[in-house]
Subunit: 214 residues, 2 copies
């Protein structure tokens, strides 16, 4: 069992642009960060977009990131439905009735809510006890499989600073956002040492795999 | 005539580690940032280390970065000799009698000093009138050739924020420093738009060339 994190960042290190909002959840310019994955066969399959899509390195990486995940953790903003206020029960996430997780998903929140069972094997659990409790519950739910820290950037940074992330799949996209929400850096002394295990460039992104040392 | 900047940064965006000091001018872990260039034929030739050295992409990039430069600008810390205090006339830079610039070099400082003529065509000029004045003087000295912002990171950020840099050669080295001095990001509205003109990976670094848009 490992804790894994996958994020796409701009060349200047941002996982999301400024002014994140409902109609632009990745902020200004942020949608460019995920262009590498949108057309891949794996992305289309996991998002219910049917057959087809590109194969090759980008697709390989998309599949590696998705494979072997038994549970995910999301921040409240990543799940959406208001900026941290009480829940509107009509909000069931950004992803429609059949979200692309297909596993239990633990959503960090300050507001209790009953679990939401969706189609395709995704159940959203709402955790009010903090990041460590969410990780404990996700680890139990994942069993022998891995836990994925699903984002957004603030949640990713939180788990990085806790020193619990074993593997980081980082996609560096050749755009500059200029400002936004950073993924790496200034995370304090909690950050364990990582070694770069693989560097694989595609036309759309440079794919890094970082493994925790020791 | 173009204003060019070349910097090596860690995967988490740092151009130098923490605790920069005389015996570790790039700070903790910072020397790893320049490993890609040290063995190249071009680096050896420009640093008086004789013939030999590697050829290939890293060497090609080292040559591109050095070619066509008519003058350089350095921050005080990059030139060295104390952390911004009055000059010790015995300090003639880090590079010995024959520095690797082979052109006029303009050093930003608060303390006047007579020009220093070195071997091999390098003359250090000390500029107390600020970054814009240094750029003006370097532009005149370079004639038809390009001006290089030679660093360090703080000086590079200053010129980036001024919006005057036409081309950035950025080498992303697959190491994490965790903390240190950033190159890109949070530079304010002065930063012009850049497009990524080339992405070329070697075993030691991913080489990006960014050109100012329009």
């Amino acid at each position: 069992m490992a804790v894994r994190l996958s994020m796409s960042v701009s060349l200047d290190g941002y996982a999301a642009g400024l002014e994140q909002r409902a109609d632009a959840p990745l902020g200004t310019g942020g949608e460019a960060l995920h262009r590498w994955v949108l057309g891949t066969r794996t992305f289309r399959a996991t998002h219910g977009a049917g057959d087809g899509g590109t194969t090759g390195l980008d697709d390989d990486v998309a599949r590696e990131i998705a494979d072997g995940i038994g549970a995910s953790i999301l921040g409240r903003r990543m799940f959406g439905g208001g900026d941290g206020g009480p829940w509107d029960p009509a909000w069931r996430g950004w992803w429609g009735d059949d979200p692309p997780f297909h596993t239990p998903v633990f959503v960090l929140t300050h507001h209790p809510r009953e679990p939401l069972e969706m189609l395709g094997g995704t159940t959203f659990h709402f955790v009010t006890g903090g990041a460590a409790e969410a990780l404990e519950r996700a680890t139990v739910a994942a069993g022998d499989l891995d836990v994925r820290i699903g984002g957004g950037a603030a949640t990713a940074r939180r788990y990085l600073a806790m020193g619990v992330v074993d593997r980081i799949d980082l996609q560096v996209v050749p755009v500059l956002l200029g400002a936004g929400e950073r993924l790496l850096g200034d995370l304090g002394d909690g950050l364990p040492a990582y070694r770069v295990d693989a560097v694989r460039p595609s036309d759309a992104a440079v794919h890094y795999r970082l493994l925790r040392d020791g």
